[in-house]
Symmetry: C2
Amino acid sequence: MLEASRLWRREGKSIGLVPTMGALHAGHLSLVDAARRENDVVVVSIFVNPIQFGPGEDFTRYPRDYAHDASLLEAAEVDAIYRPATAAMYPPGATTRVRVGDVAEPLEGAARPGHFEGVATVVTKLFAAVAPDRAYFGQKDAQQAAVVKRLVRDLDLGVDVRVQPIVREPDGLALSSRNVYLSPDERKAAVALSSALRAAADAYAGGERDPDALLAVLRRRLEAEPLVQVDYAELVDQATFQKPGTLAVVAARVGKTRLIDNHDLALGFPQDSFRSALK
Amino acid sequence: MLEASRLWRREGKSIGLVPTMGALHAGHLSLVDAARRENDVVVVSIFVNPIQFGPGEDFTRYPRDYAHDASLLEAAEVDAIYRPATAAMYPPGATTRVRVGDVAEPLEGAARPGHFEGVATVVTKLFAAVAPDRAYFGQKDAQQAAVVKRLVRDLDLGVDVRVQPIVREPDGLALSSRNVYLSPDERKAAVALSSALRAAADAYAGGERDPDALLAVLRRRLEAEPLVQVDYAELVDQATFQKPGTLAVVAARVGKTRLIDNHDLALGFPQDSFRSALK
């Protein structure tokens, strides 16, 4: 991968990287489209990174369908798929880890110990191997995007981190590879996350600025859905993930599936963010 | 720095990096010479890295003489000096750290908590900014070299880590920027480190293979010198820094100055390693 990257650089080509764990959906493809528009060469990495999953999490059953992923990426005209083997990424004695601290500590960091250390480590490795000019991440994983931006700044990685809007189903559910885990009833219940964010954004648009009042709106809608167990619902700053802020972030279990979603309440009316799925 | 590096790469030039903390001596210059022989472009970084010094260590009084360093590097025909400001390397909120584990844990890692995390973090940053093909480290800091090699492998940094032999004074003292701290009496006593390594290497050359016997030779010579307080003296593997091995590593205080030295007992007669200083 590094040899290919260095050859492209010698040819003066710019490189865009879309890091993924496969199980590609329209959200990933929107990242590929953005990379295609902004770079001479597009690389998509597919690697289900074991060290970002906790002991009780879904590493082994995480959806994998390389043939389908490859056909989508071929249609999207990517230049290369980087798909390293787990044993190549983590050979025996591969004990080095990258810890971002700070922005990686609350919320997802607290709910999933070790998760962001696994993310920061694999992203450092992918950036080293691909040496991209730009890398594309989805706003769906908002804290991950903030962690990667901090990582790039702190380690001088020289990569422009481009965060693309959430792609949603027509009813508002944020696209996620984990949505396939949902039963039909759970799938219906899962819309509570996005509709709670919409309700809070409506309240914000109506002039409400008190964080507790906005969170009450958010939580009321979530708690009205019996199949949904709220993990957290907070208002934080988009860059630091500290309070105060206008980014509403939600994590909840729907049945056994843990979903996350977010929306910046200050960024216009919520239907703006749902438009992409309605096109 | 990264822009310059990318420009050189576009021109097809290979890049060699010599990371230093300044206070350059003939040991550093041997690294620069090796880099000069093996690369189109030679970059020397000068950065006294605060995060690799512990609370009681010598960060503030570490010798700094940029004018002298620059004149040495100009004479050595380096292409660029990379000398970032501390505030640029560690701006507020720069909490990201790289931790190697394993090879970084015993000996220097145990004696200087946080030291190798500081080293691994700054080396990752320097490698990201300079994007070298090859980087040059001295065998004097043998464990540091092993930590950097592991770091490069674990994070896919794609840098060839080239370790150059220790350069010694005619009496055997390994060159170190910290030797300037020594009083005349301490300077005389400091030769105990290299002569202890020589004595152990002589015993090895004479057929002694028992680690305890070899260490006894080493320690006897060190303990015969009243101004020397041994911190550790061990025999370890050069790559893993675990026992068993033939790399004799020594750390000791001479007065208030902490010095380290090492010699691979299996690598020929000890006078081989002293030859460079006798030329």
